[in-house]
């Protein structure tokens, strides 16, 4: 194994650790999206998500709307971080394969 292989493998493992840490953080955040329903002049908000073909819905109290928005936005950011790290891992896998094929 070349030193470059080792560096790439270490980076792959480092990214795996990073993904694990972000996933742990995701566990504590609400899943889904916020939908708004207007009835007359009033707006009602729901936290919705799909599970097993069903849409699960939870009413959000008015004073919880902003905190839910904050956490769902945060969840999106973390999910993107995971995707980015997984993409980096794919690139490393491809690079390692290329090195192996060229040997």
């Amino acid at each position: 194994m070349t030193i470059l292989d080792e560096v790439l493998k270490e980076e792959y493992e480092r990214l795996s650790r990073g993904i694990g840490l972000v996933r742990e953080e995701l566990e504590g955040l609400p899943k889904g999206y916020i939908s708004e329903k207007k009835i007359g002049n009033n707006a009602y908000y729901y936290l919705q998500r799909r599970e097993g073909g069903k849409i699960l819905s939870k009413h959000i109290k008015k004073d919880e709307l902003e905190p839910y928005k904050t956490l769902i936005e945060h969840r999106k950011k973390l999910s993107k971080q995971i995707k980015d790290m997984e993409f980096e891992q794919q690139k490393i896998k491809a690079a390692l394969k290329k090195v192996k094929d060229n040997d």
């Binding site: 194994m1 070349t2 030193i3 470059l4 080792e6 560096v7 270490e10 980076e11 480092r14 650790r17 990073g18 840490l21 504590g28 609400p30 004073d63 919880e64 902003e66 905190p67 839910y68 904050t70 956490l71 945060h74």
Partner: protein, 232 residues
């Protein structure tokens, strides 16, 4: 199990150690970050990728007094020696593994980009290195005492030079912002007070632009969690 790159790092440190020049060197750059984790200085720090560059900051170009020829000694150990054509800057190479570079603190009005040292290498001169030179700790790595900047000094230095780092500035910011979480804030503040007014402003500008917004976001998220989950 140690990998080949770490073995080569140890080989380089041993070369300096066996020739009595390790005490003249402070390890900076990505290897210092790696050492913060490996030696337990910042065990929870999530470091960025290690590069092939091993940056060695030479404390004083006039030491050791009698002078040595480090490139010759390195050559005998299997290193390739490179000398930049324009500047003469010396690099010790272990191809595909390590590129050892020497740096020197630029002081006063001097505008030399490189200076010869008594180690027998020509080192690149850089400004703003006083902070890392004046605030170091010795750590033990595989039985050898190595000097690295204290993490607070490392971060402050990186904050000062960040805007001049061009394409490397974003990668540096990722390291700084992650490392900042693990720093001793009292020590950080105390070191900040030792800087010139100009450099203090540079660090404050960095904190305002890149650290405070992240801290504010963490605060907002924790507050939101508190409001939603408090009753559950």
């Amino acid at each position: 199990m140690i990998n080949a790159q770490v073995r080569d790092f140890i080989k380089t440190i041993k070369l300096l150690h066996d020739n009595d020049c390790i005490s003249q060197i402070v390890i900076i750059g990505s290897w210092a970050e790696h050492l913060y984790i490996e030696t337990g200085v910042l065990p929870a720090y999530f470091a960025t990728i290690m590069t092939l560059d091993l940056d060695l900051l030479v404390k004083n170009l006039k030491y050791p007094r009698g002078g040595i020829n480090l490139p010759e000694l390195a050559k005998a150990e299997g290193y390739q020696i490179e000398s930049e054509r324009l500047t003469g800057i010396t690099k010790l190479l272990l191809p595909g593994s390590l590129e050892v570079e020497f740096l020197l603190s630029k002081r006063g009005a001097g505008n030399e980009t490189a200076l010869k040292t008594n180690l027998g290498v020509t080192a690149q001169t850089l400004r703003h290195m006083e902070m890392v030179l004046a605030n170091t700790i010795k750590v033990d790595f595989y039985g050898m005492a190595i000097e690295i900047p204290i993490p607070e000094a490392f971060v402050i230095h990186k904050m000062i030079i960040n805007k001049d780092r061009k394409e490397k500035s974003e990668k540096d910011r990722a390291s700084i912002n992650e490392m900042y979480k693990h720093l001793n804030k009292t020590r950080f503040e105390a070191l900040l007070q030792t800087l010139s007014k100009r450099n203090q402003k540079e660090v404050e500008r960095y904190l305002d632009n890149f650290i405070m917004p992240a801290l504010e976001e963490v605060r907002r998220i924790e507050e939101a969690k508190g409001k939603i989950f408090a009753g559950n």
